[in-house]
């Protein structure tokens, strides 16, 4: 029986500084789920995300806002808040020197609707040398462009490996 979660696209990269998933959004769906579980870096950084236009170009205007609750198994929780960035900067806090992977679901609303903002929320679980570093975030891209794709990046490091799977919620 068909269910409401429908596979759209997968993308992978090894030893890459960015991973782009072009044309993963369309007018068939208003809501998308993006899963990341195979991701590793050497070092410690946040996984960051930008949106792509229909030509595959990164949307870099400073209209990315976010509020993230950082939940640690080994210490007090903290808040990460930003407005007017040129990316969503706090998706997964990674420190994966031995390829542990992570768990992250990003839900994205209205990306392909021209004239509407693109909203997203996520929840992640990852591991650092100190213990589990998890996050729950809300995000808005205050651009009214048509958003057609995703780009995952890091601030200065490269991904050892990354795989991203995009599904539409019918």
């Amino acid at each position: 029986m068909a269910t409401s979660l429908q596979f759209i696209k997968s993308a992978s990269g090894s030893s890459v500084s960015t991973l782009s998933i072009t044309d993963c959004f369309n007018d068939n769906y208003a809501v998308y789920q993006v899963f990341i579980s195979k991701v590793d870096i050497t070092g410690i950084e946040w996984v960051e995300m930008q949106y792509l236009d229909t030509s595959g170009n990164a949307l870099t205007s400073t209209v990315y806002d976010e509020a993230v609750l950082e939940m640690l198994s080994y210490g007090s929780f903290s808040q990460g808040r930003s407005t007017s960035r040129d990316e969503h900067g706090r998706l997964i806090r990674l420190q994966d020197d031995s390829d542990e992977g992570a768990g992250c679901l990003i839900t994205i609303f209205n990306p392909y609707t021209s004239g509407s903002y693109t909203f997203a929320k996520n929840q992640s679980s990852a591991h650092t040398d100190s213990g589990m570093f998890a996050s729950k975030g809300i995000f808005v891209y205050r651009g009214t462009d048509v958003v057609a794709g995703l780009k995952f990046k890091l601030n200065s490091l490269s991904y050892d490996n990354i795989t991203v799977n995009v599904y539409g919620v019918k």
Binding site: T3, S37, M71, L72, G101, C104, Q123, M132, S135
Partner: protein, 194 residues
């Protein structure tokens, strides 16, 4: 809609029209377990055919949980009916109608995915990499229920990890006190091509 196992173009169009044509990436039901009101106290709900080599992400739902004793809804992972009972880490934000609080641990016998309630437990969790022997097994979850005996509300969201690079073929939902459930519905799904 019936067919003879041979799909021509028109059959595919018809099956799609009836929402019966299987496509890639579906949320696929693996198993549902239920207990109805009046059953004996049930302490654990075990999923032991989870198809861990087929699905890298599992989606677990738990609803209508009813018990006579307060406890946290929790998760364990295991192999061949033997469950790991130490080394779990978690961090959760609890939200009750009376107060908010953080809950965290680096050394637990379970991953907590629920709040300290005993009636009206409803939760879901995503479980990542459980069948991958080179990765840790991660979980993210959210829960809502009654704070007390059908009074008030309790909710939480959080994440957990079993920081061991191992594969597991069992998932267990449990309460860690001596009072189990007399009612619940639990379902495990696989997210295909995850």
């Amino acid at each position: 809609m019936s067919n003879q196992g041979i799909f021509d173009v028109n059959s595919i169009v018809d099956l799609k029209h009836h929402d019966q044509w299987s496509t890639l990436g579906q949320l696929e039901l693996i198993e549902t377990q239920t207990a109805t009101s009046g059953s004996a106290d049930i302490m654990t709900v075990n999923f032991e055919s989870i198809q861990e080599s087929k699905y890298n992400v599992h989606f677990l739902t738990f609803s209508e949980g009813q018990s006579n004793g307060y406890q946290y809804l929790s998760l364990r992972f295991g192999n061949d009916s033997t469950y790991t009972t130490s080394g779990y880490q978690y961090a959760r934000q609890q939200m009750l109608n009376t107060t908010f609080a953080e809950d965290r641990s680096t050394s637990q016998s379970t991953i907590r995915i629920g709040s300290y309630v005993y009636r009206g437990e409803n939760a879901y969790a995503y479980i990542y990499n459980i069948g991958d022997s080179s990765k840790y097994t991660f979980a993210t979850s959210q829960m809502v229920g009654n704070a007390a005996n059908y009074v008030g509300c309790a909710s939480s969201f959080g994440s957990g990890v079993l920081p061991t690079a191992s594969s597991f073929n069992n998932i267990q939902i449990l309460r860690t006190n001596s009072v189990g459930w007399y009612g619940f519905k639990a379902s495990l799904y696989g997210i295909r091509y995850s």
